[in-house]
């Protein structure tokens, strides 16, 4: 596919997705898609860091927290200003935090880096909880007016007396999907740009990268700033939609960092389409788990669940844990890697 055609395909795909999203009937699906958009942005950020610059982070929930709080803080103190400004502020602040965390990170190898970012993600929720309680709201967090659909959107879609709530979640889903599509498009351009090539070289062979004159530390730090900025945008998006940023928000805790890593690996490290698949997987994981348990005789009515009443709520994590281990050992390139492999096999069979 040529470059222009590819770009056009992205834009068209984004438009189609937006229209499809805007006409979704179920409010739950619309709310899920809103989340999926944000997850997709965070996943692209992490996937870029790991797949394209070779660094690993288990601390991206920390950057999401920074972004979310910055957006909420800015909105509280500048009411009436456009939402986009809050988002930009969130991106800027989390990029700055990413720079601070990225500086030691540039000198660290994989495991040290992973551990350090994990420690960052674990400790960060304590900041709004116990420092600056008056400005950041302590364990209550910050509350803002959530994003709501403008009048023209109501006029467009309120054809058969749909509930305003549903129209609202359709609107947020559309906003979130459009932003995600924009991010995907920008990242696909970055992947083929000079910076993208430089990062790949740093990942694959840092000695060679230094020999051709690349500054290793700076390239790694750039990748960290970018992943932090994208995570911050995702966090801000979640907060603008839900209206709250609190230390106990699921996406701001270190368990979500682990979930992000899991989803990224399952989708396919370093792949944009993998990030889309992974985001949907993350949002619908509970439904998928229920479907699997119902079809394998492990559901709530089975004998296993009768013996272990606590099994059902933990089934999701058990499955994801097993999947993560199995994927990494047998299919390290995730779902996208499997699909590509299958397609190539099919091509070679048909050509024979």
């Amino acid at each position: 596919m040529s470059g222009t055609f590819k770009r056009l395909a992205w834009v068209l795909g984004g438009l189609v997705a937006a229209i499809a999203v805007a006409s979704i009937q179920s409010g739950t699906d619309a709310a899920n898609l809103t989340k999926a958009g944000a997850y997709c942005i965070a996943l692209v950020g992490l996937s870029f860091l790991t797949g394209w610059s070779g660094q690993i982070s288990i601390g991206n929930s920390g950057f999401m927290l920074v972004g979310g709080y910055s957006a909420a803080f800015w909105t509280l103190h500048h009411p009436g200003e456009p939402v986009a400004i809050s988002m930009i502020v969130a991106i800027a602040v989390s990029a700055f935090v990413g720079l601070i965390i990225g500086m030691p990170a540039t000198r660290l190898r994989g495991p040290y880096l992973a551990g350090m970012t994990l420690a960052f993600a674990v400790a960060l929720p304590y900041v709004p909880q116990s420092f600056a309680v008056s400005t950041l709201g302590g364990s209550q967090g910050l509350t803002i007016t959530p994003l709501s659909a403008p009048q023209w959107f109501f006029n467009l879609f309120d054809t058969n007396n749909t509930l305003p709530v549903v129209i609202n979640s359709r609107f947020t889903a559309m906003v979130s999907v459009v932003i995600a599509a924009l991010v995907l498009w920008l990242m696909s351009n970055l992947f083929t740009s000079k910076t993208g090539r430089a990062m790949r070289l740093v990942r694959d062979n840092d000695v060679a990268a230094e020999l051709v004159g690349l500054h290793l530390g700076r390239t790694r730090a750039q990748a960290f700033v970018l992943t932090a900025a994208l995570s911050g945008l995702a966090g801000a998006l979640l907060v603008m939609v839900s209206g709250t940023a609190s230390p106990s928000t699921y996406e701001f805790g270190f368990t979500f960092s682990i979930a992000l890593l899991t989803l990224m690996v399952l989708g396919g490290i370093g792949s944009l389409s993998g990030a889309i698949i992974a985001a949907l997987l993350g949002v619908y994981s509970l439904q998928i788990t229920t479907w699997i348990t119902d079809h394998t005789g492990l559901g709530p009515d089975s004998w296993v669940s009768a013996k272990l009443p606590n099994l059902a709520p933990n089934m999701e994590n058990i499955l994801f844990g097993i999947l993560l281990i199995v994927t990494m050992i047998f299919a390290p390139r995730g779902i996208v890697g499997l699909a590509t492999g299958l397609r190539q096999k099919l091509i070679s069979v048909t050509r024979r």
Binding site: P104, P111, A114, Y126, L308, G321, I329, P332
Partner: protein, 299 residues
Amino acid sequence: MIANILTNRIVNDIAGGTAQGVIIGLVALCLVLVWRATRVLNFAQGPMAMFVTYIGMTQMDHHANFWVAAAISVAVGFIFSALTEIVIVKPLYHKAEINPIVVMVGMFTLLEAVASAVWTNIPRYPTAPFSSINFQSEGNPTGLSPLSTFQIGAALAIMTLVAILFNYTSLGLKLRASALAPEVSKLLGIRVGRLLTLGWGIAGAVGAVAGVVISLNPGGLAPNMLDAMFILGFIAAAIGGLDSPLGALVSGIVIGVVMQLINDYWNSNYADMVAVVLLVVVLMLRPQGIFTKNSTRRV
């Protein structure tokens, strides 16, 4: 005079902090053992220790005595960790260095979920054969209790055992050789693969001791009981240098004491953050840790 010192607030904090610090050091030691043997940072160290502690300690419900239960935990810890190495870590040597990290993160998720499914999230409190009431000096409490003395003693005893094993026995020499120079060791007829498995097993047993000791803390035995401890253990191991067992112990104790002082004089919520800041500062100044001499790395 002596009584005054024993009940002094700072001295109490240092004593209590040391008790927690040696446990942090013990967790750090597990990470160092696995790292030295196989260059894998075991992110599932906490849940693995938690899991085998549950297996041993729940035997107390079936009228096993504390020491028997602890021994079961340690034995299962050894076997479980060695099996983990054989089944899921071995296929990943010589792959990208993020692969084992991701696999151990998967193990983390899996074990905590299974433990929560089998034993629920409600903490259990194994009855220790020691009192947790602090020793008294002229009517005032000192910083240590029979229980915390036992915890310090157990941790130090295990560390001494590991040090003797690695430094003064021929098995220890082989273990070090296969970790540091696997190719040469292979040529000299050492079965490197088996020794790496053994290294994981030893780390698992040490982890089980840490798990048993921590399950006697006020938090009790719970599926996520080692999460915070793992982070602190990692911070201690990274500050000391992932290659240095002594560094793990020393920085573990320092972190324990510093956190206890922050808890007492400032705010308990700040303790974790101060530990992370400490880590970032040390890693910025000396990325290889304080107690490691060389900074070479494998390419």
